[in-house]
Each structure stands twice: as C-alpha cells, then as structure tokens.
C-alpha cells in the first residue's frame, strides 16, 4: 500500500505537537534513547510528548513549532509521513509547504478555546484559514480532530455542537471533509485507541487515516510530460544517423508507449517515440506519476522546460487567471515583475491585476490592491513566454507555479491556475 502523506494544522497550543507525539508513541516509533531524553527533561512529571517534534533550538526556547518537520511511523497496514505544519500565523507559509505534497490534512480544533455557551459556536480564524488553505491546495481529504475533549464538561454535547459548526463552515466553503473525530492527544483517547464513551461509536483518528486514499494522477488523459533533464545517449547512436538524446521527465497525466506520436511544446514539432526507459532499463510503456526517458525517432530541438504532449492537446497561454497564496513579508503588487516556475521552466511574469483577496471570516472576496503575507487572492497573470497551463483542479503539475522574488530569491507565492471564468460569481468563495 502507498504511504499516506498528511499534514497536521492547528493554532498555537492546540496540542498539535502532542498529537503527533502521541501517534509516534502509540505506534512505537519512539525509541528508548529518545524517550530517555524526554524523561530526563520531565524530571518526574508526565512525559511531554510534544517535545519530540520541536526540533530546533529556537522553538524549544519559544515553545512553539516554527518550521515544517517530517515524521515517520508505520502501522500494521500502512506507512505514514507526517508534515507537521506550524500554527503560528506568521508561519502560514510553512503550512502551505506542508499542504502542497499531502494526501490529507488533519486540522486540529482546540475545543477549550471555543465559546460553547453559544448556540452557533464561532470557530477560530486559524481553523478557517488552515481548512481553506488545504482546500485551495487541493489536499484531497480533510479530517477535523476536535482536541482536548477530556478538558470540557459534557464532552458529548460539546463535541456535537462543535461538529455542527464545522459542518456548517464546510458546507459554506465547499470543503471535502473525510471525517470529524473527537480526540484527547494528551491522554491518547481516540488517537490510536478507541474512545470509551457512550456518546461516541465512530472510528479513532488512526482508523480514519489508515483508510484514506492517496493522490493519484490521471493516466486516462492525453499525455503531458514536462521535460526535466536532457541526457546525451551513448548507446543508441549506431545507425541512427544522429546523436539521440534521452528526454527525461515525470508524466503529469496520461500514458505513453513506444510508437506513439508526440508533440513538443513550444516548438510544435512532432516525432514518434522510438524507445522508452525507466530507472536504467528499457520499457515499452509508462503512465502518470512515473519518470520516463523518451528517445524520439528523429532529431528535434528539445530542452529542459519544454513539454511533450499528445499531438494537438496543448493550449498554451501568456495570460491566465490564478489563485495566489502569498508567502513573502514583502506584499504582492500588481505590475511588479517576478520569476515563476511552471513545470521545469523559469519565465518572467507580472501580476497584471489583483482582483480580490479572500476574507477568511465571511468567505467573500474583498477588493484589494496588494496581497500581504499569508493572504490568498485572485489575480491575473501575464508570462513572458507561452506556457501550456491547465486549471489546477485538472492537472496538479500543469496548474501549479511558484513565484520567486528576483531580488531576494525567496519563494514568495504559490500560484494555482484557475479555470477560465465561466461560472457565476456565486461559485466564488
């Protein structure tokens, strides 16, 4: 079975590090010497499992997680890779980093921070932000873990209330919620062991995670392969009349086999696939997600950054609408030039207009002239060269770009290509 990559997100003090510590501890991924260190630090008190994941000196001093950390554990049925994303608002960019490669998001909700006296319990801004980011980055499954369930009176009623609030929010935002489960990370209730409470007969968090699907790219679509690396080939030249090259790239979607006709973007030249390689051996065919080496039947001018596509399937563009998650302390401004990376190509780009910024409370687009750090907005992009962009919802590879500041070289934003505007505005956030 494929490993499940999931991220954990929550506000400061929601008990996220404790939850991860609990998952590692209960699955025996914590070894004696590591536990030893914790026990020494605890000096007789109960062991603080959150210390397992606070890796950097700076955050041990501050007591908060400040960078994405990756953790590994396995159960009887599955290996898991946790991307531990910090909840502190100024580090939302790390949450975006964690979300970008994940199959699922576990969003922690600290039930003790909510006003349970109200009929409609208001959620914390971070819960909304993290859920929306996960949805924006198309993390396929979202799991709400309502934590510290041991610390409230009448936990069954409290859980039901918060679940109602989360469900209402999920409906309004169009979130794909795989499950909502109560947990106590501190005590270990319903994390890996079932919760012994009359009001709960649902699964534990781990049971939910064991059943979630991994992200699969589509093989039943036209071929799309961004050329990653061009290698001179010393072994195919005899009799070919030219020096063949191996065009390596990871198939974004579709499939390819020897003999297929393909088209190179942007040159639009066509050729047939003479041979295919994968990991040092010759193969007859390959499909989405695999890195393949194509040897074509004629000499074409192909370099890193080009795309190999099914003939006629490309619709390259220089202007497109996109959703921009801004990660840089220097705000995004219309008119400024940036570097963007699409597939394996770097091109110059400009934000021609900032249409709106998402208000995380009302879920409505608001007018904006710039995007500050951690803001998410709708923008119009213009790029220097035609790119075969596709909407992110159809193609995670062809629909994703990073924005890099040309002066600082910082990764300033995550850009997701939107479908061309056809839907009414009500479909917007």
């Amino acid at each position: 079975m494929q490993a499940l990559r999931f991220l954990t997100a929550g506000s400061v003090d929601d008990g996220k590090s404790t939850l991860i510590g609990r998952l590692l501890f209960d699955s025996q991924a914590i070894l004696a010497d590591q536990l030893d260190v914790l026990e020494r630090r605890a000096a007789g008190n109960p062991v603080d499992l959150s210390l397992l994941t606070d890796g950097l000196e700076a955050e041990r001093e501050q007591g908060i997680t400040i960078d994405v950390a990756y953790r590994y554990f396995a159960t009887k049925t599955r290996k898991f890779i946790i991307a531990d994303a910090p909840g502190h608002e100024q580090y939302t960019r790390n949450m975006v980093t964690a979300a970008a490669g994940s199959d699922a998001a576990v969003v922690l909700v600290d039930i003790t921070k909510l006003d349970l006296t109200q009929q409609d319990v208001p959620l914390l801004p971070q819960t909304r932000r993290h859920s929306l980011l996960a949805q924006l980055l198309r993390v396929p499954s979202i799991v709400f873990a309502i934590n510290k369930i041991d610390a409230v009176d009448a936990p069954g009623e409290a859980f039901a209330k918060v679940r109602r609030a989360l469900e209402a929010f999920a409906r309004a935002a169009g979130l794909n919620v795989a499950a909502t489960v109560p947990v106590s990370a501190l005590r270990g209730d319903n994390v890996t062991q079932p919760l012994a409470a009359p009001w709960w007969n649902g699964p534990s968090l781990l049971q939910v995670l064991e059943g979630l699907p991994t992200t699969q790219e589509r093989s039943d679509a036209p071929l799309s392969l961004p050329v990653q690396y061009v290698q001179k080939d010393a072994y195919q030249s005899e009799g070919a009349g030219f020096q063949p090259r191996v065009l390596w790239g990871r198939v974004a979607h579709g499939a390819v086999k020897v003999g297929d006709e393909v088209e190179v973007q942007p040159s639009r030249q066509r050729a047939r696939v003479a041979a295919l390689r994968r990991a040092a051996v010759e193969v007859d065919s390959g499909s989405a997600g695999q890195s393949l080496g194509l040897i074509l039947d004629r000499q074409l001018d192909v370099s890193r950054g080009d795309w190999i596509l099914s003939p006629g399937s490309a619709a390259p563009q220089t202007r497109f609408p996109a959703t921009l998650a801004w990660l840089d302390t220097e705000p995004a401004r219309a008119g400024r030039k940036y570097w963007v990376r699409h597939g394996n190509r770097w091109v110059q780009a400009r934000i021609t207009a900032i249409d709106s910024v998402l208000d995380i409370h009302s879920l409505q687009p608001l007018d904006a002239h710039e995007l500050a750090v951690n803001a998410i907005g709708r923008v119009q992009m213009e790029v220097q060269h035609e790119l075969p962009v596709e909407p992110f919802e159809f193609n995670r590879v062809g629909g994703a770009l990073i924005v890099v500041d040309p002066a600082s070289h910082r990764t300033s934003g995550a850009l997701l290509v939107d479908a061309p505007v056809a839907e009414p505005a009500a479909e917007d956030w």
């Binding site: 700076a58 994405v68 990653q228 890195s291």
Partner: protein, 321 residues
C-alpha cells in the same frame, strides 16, 4: 525518528509499492540536481546511506548491463566527493576505492589533514574527534571545486533538526544553513535559484527511514562495506556504548578489551562511531533486527550527538552535512 514497529506489524506496511514510490521520488530529485546546477557533486563516504544514493544515481543516469563490473554502463553527470578525516575505518576507504574503480567514476577527496596543514583546523589534542572539524574541509573542498550543489544521503528520520530540512536546502555564501529563512518547498517545483558563491545541499532520500534503507539494500543487493554485517571485533564497554579498539580509540585505564560479535549501524569517523552487538549477517537479517530495535541509530552509535540535544542543529548551521 526510526519507524521501529512492533514485530507483529512486520513487512506488510513496507511492501514494494512504498519502496517504489521512494525510489521514484529520489531519482526525480537526482535528475533535478543534474539539470538545475552547473557543478553538482555527490557525497560518497562508503556509508550505507550514500551507497543507497549511489545506486539511485546509477538508476537515474545509467543503463543496466550485467557485463559491466558495476552492473551499470554509462557515466554519472557529477563527480563523487569524500571528506576523509584521516580517521576513517581502513576497510571503508578500501570499499570506497573499489566501488569507484568498478564504476569508473571520478572521486574528489578532501583531506582533513590538508586543512590542518593550512591551519584552518586546529585540534585541541591529537586524538580529538575529527568529526565536527569535517565541516571546514568540506567547505574548503566546495570552494576549491566551485561546487554549487552537493547531494547527500541525510534522512529526516535521523535527528530532530534534520526533520525540518528541505529536500533542496539553501546554503549562504559562508556555507551556512539558515533554518528560519528556509524557502517554502511546494509540490516538486524546487526553487534552485542561487547567487555566485552560494550552494545547495540536496537530499534525495529525505523521506526514507532506516528500515526503508535496509529494505532497499536487500531488494537491490547493494554492496556495503563488510563491517555493516556481523563480525568479531575488539571493543571496550564505555557509558553504555561499545567502543571499538582502534589506534585512535585505545582502551582507557581500567577498561577491559573484549571480543564481541558486532555490526555497525552507521559508519563515520573512527573516534565517534560505535558498533552494536548483533548476529545479523546479511541485509535480510538486519531488516528483521531493525524492525525490533529500541534505540535510535544515532543514540546507539554516535558519541558526538550525545553531547547536547541541539548538537546537530548547531553543526548544521555551521555547514555540516
């Protein structure tokens, strides 16, 4: 953190689908390095993690050929680099040279003793561990050869500071890691833009655990220095560790030298690498043992990492591997 699993969990969790995905990711990263940088190099020490990375590089850039002494024909698009402390186990150096010769690749060796001769490294006493000093020689080697990317075999499960490192990890012009300035790493759109004098460290097996490494060594029949498997060795028992008797780690007063059946879980500088007691004589037996192990790889075998909980982070900031 090692994914030590209960014995009853055993192999189902780590079947071929999972190893295939790790291999796919690692090969992608290796080709990305070759395509994105002008002067990359691969750190090869003869240790098991770098042996795995080397096999992945063969699979990324070569063609399988049973007639070739190494099993693969073709050449790598980068040289191999080793930082030799002068205190490496001789059998590891022998293995390194043999492997490089059969692959017909180029090996660049940075000698710690050259840095000592230049005066850029000064040991406090002649038998001081040279492990921490490797950083100086590494950075000098990078400057001398103007490498702009170094491929390493570090894994995120090894240590808490490493758990936070990016796959493409930026180093400033002093070779330093700035953990708070790490670039967000989104999808596989790596931001490899650098200024002259800066470089990257690239870690293709970031997402592998010690168990994954051993499963892959077993599956791919990857050659390793023999000291990774059970053998008889003279050791002293010191602070819960088995310290091997070597010319640089003599027995201390009052210690007795015993002959014990051991294997090494990591292989580094002789002054700070310890074996564990084990009868595991091949990769399959090491896999079985790894599944039931209760002490982390570094905890069991590295004297230097015990000094301070934050010692790895400190060394990484200074430019360590």
């Amino acid at each position: 953190m090692n994914a030590a699993v209960k014995p009853e969990h055993l192999i189902q969790a780590v079947d071929n689908a999972h190893l295939d995905a790790l291999e796919e990711e690692a090969i992608f990263i290796l080709r990305e390095v070759a395509a994105s940088f002008e002067r990359p190099a691969l750190l090869f020490s003869g240790g098991k993690d770098s042996c795995v990375v080397l096999r992945l590089a063969e699979k990324a850039f070569k063609l399988r050929d049973p007639a070739h002494p190494s099993g693969y024909k073709g050449s790598l698009p980068f040289p191999l680099v080793h930082i030799d402390t002068g205190h490496n186990f001789p059998e590891v150096i022998g293995f390194r040279d043999q492997r490089v010769a059969e692959m017909q690749e180029r090996l660049v060796v940075g000698h710690l003793e050259d840095s000592m001769a230049r005066g850029t490294i000064r040991l406090a006493h002649p038998l001081e561990s040279r492990n921490g000093h490797q950083t100086v020689t590494l950075l000098e080697t990078i400057e001398e050869h103007r490498f702009d990317a170094l491929i390493g075999g570090a894994r995120r499960d090894e240590e808490k500071a490493r758990a936070k490192e990016r796959i493409f990890s930026h180093r400033d012009s002093f070779g330093q890691w700035q953990p708070k300035e790490q670039r967000p790493e989104l999808w596989q759109l790596y931001n490899t833009r650098i200024r002259p004098g800066e470089h990257f460290r690239c870690f293709p097996i970031s997402n592998w655990t010690e168990l994954d490494v051993w499963l892959y060594i077993q599956r791919e029949a990857i050659p390793l220095p023999p000291m990774y498997y059970a053998h008889e060795r003279q050791v002293m028992r010191r602070k819960g560790l088995l310290v091997p008797l070597t010319e640089v780690t003599p027995a201390l007063e009052g210690e007795t030298v015993e002959t014990v059946q051991v294997r090494f879980r990591t292989v580094g500088d002789m002054t700070c690498t310890c074996p564990v007691q084990s009868p595991a004589a091949n990769a399959a037996e090491v896999v079985a043992e790894t599944l039931t192990v209760t002490v982390s790889e570094r905890g069991a075998t590295r004297m230097d990492d015990r000094t301070s909980e934050a010692s790895m982070e400190k060394r990484k900031k200074e430019g360590y591997f």
